[in-house]
Subunit: 191 residues, 2 copies
């Protein structure tokens, strides 16, 4: 952020009075601009024993597999956003069953909120951000080609829960480990 | 939003190519500015049978009672944010026990995430945003002077769960009803 959204003047990075974190503060009008994490919403969408997966047609992680998910928009609920993303990315209509996971990704300032859902019909197809969309049985999941650690962890929890016959609500953090290698640690709050 | 954060020029409100929602788009550099909901994090923090409550020293809802909660910041997890807000507003240290509620407030573009927590000691006091802080038994809760519907609903769920001896994870929407009166409907996803 370089300029004030309210008056167009340059902003300084400084700690406002009564605060303890540096903020972008307008040098002219004094407006304080807060930057906050974004919410990503999506679904584990099922038809019979299979889960709907999308192969990404966009960066980052072009060509790798993910669950339908994207940024929550203003004026919608997390459920509405999860349904919209499933429709946009996989041309699939779903009925939301329950809140399933909440993951913090502090290294990229995102909070992932995923819902368990059922397809209303076995109808789906690639939206503009997907190369292909398919229903995967557990043995078909492309574990080595999953786009994001949060999606891999969500799928692992899902198949574990399915085996034990009970779906909980899971929350935790996906923490990027220091160092040049792209490595992450999953820290669950409670199962 | 009136000016571009990247170049300081005026923004137009228009639907970018490939999108279907009006966005603030810079007339000069073309940057598209997305506005997204903010996450509010907080705690239902307990000491023995009582819950920590704060009387607001700031607008909106000055003088009314709430649970410690505030905007999630960049570079922190929802748990870290909930602990920070409890420390800032109530000078209390907590151990987080579980994710408790996720509420959508689409009329103000907020997602509330509240955690069940235990005070690590019966020590607390008003931070700069609180007039007073107290531990409330169920019979002491000032139901007619709760600052926000989402807080009232969270407290109701908490005392219901405590009576049945099991704490679930609850999610739902707080929807502002049309009309001049400040009235809301609570729509739970699943109990």
């Amino acid at each position: 952020m370089k300029f004030c959204t309210q008056c167009g003047s340059a902003v300084d990075l400084r700690i406002p009075e009564g605060d303890n974190v540096p903020r972008h503060v307008c040098a002219r009008c004094g407006e304080i601009h807060y930057l906050n994490p974004k919410v990503v919403v999506g679904t584990v969408a099922r038809w019979e024993d299979r889960v709907l997966m999308c192969r990404r047609a966009i960066e980052p992680r072009y060509g790798l597999w993910t669950l339908p998910a994207g940024f929550l928009e203003n004026d919608e609920t997390t459920i509405e956003g999860a349904m919209r993303e499933t429709l946009e990315e996989a041309a699939a209509r779903v009925k939301i069953k329950q809140l399933y996971t909440l993951f913090n990704l502090p290294h990229i300032n995102q909070v992932y909120v995923m819902f368990l859902a059922d397809l209303t019909a076995p109808e789906f197809g690639p939206g503009p951000e997907s190369l292909e969309v398919t229903l995967c049985d557990e043995r078909d999941i492309p574990w080595d080609d999953i786009a994001f650690p949060v999606i891999e962890q969500t799928l692992k929890l899902y198949f574990e829960d399915r085996r034990r016959g009970r779906f909980g609500v899971h929350s935790g953090d996906i923490v990027r480990l220091p160092g040049p290698r792209r490595a992450f640690e999953v820290r669950m709050l409670r199962d």
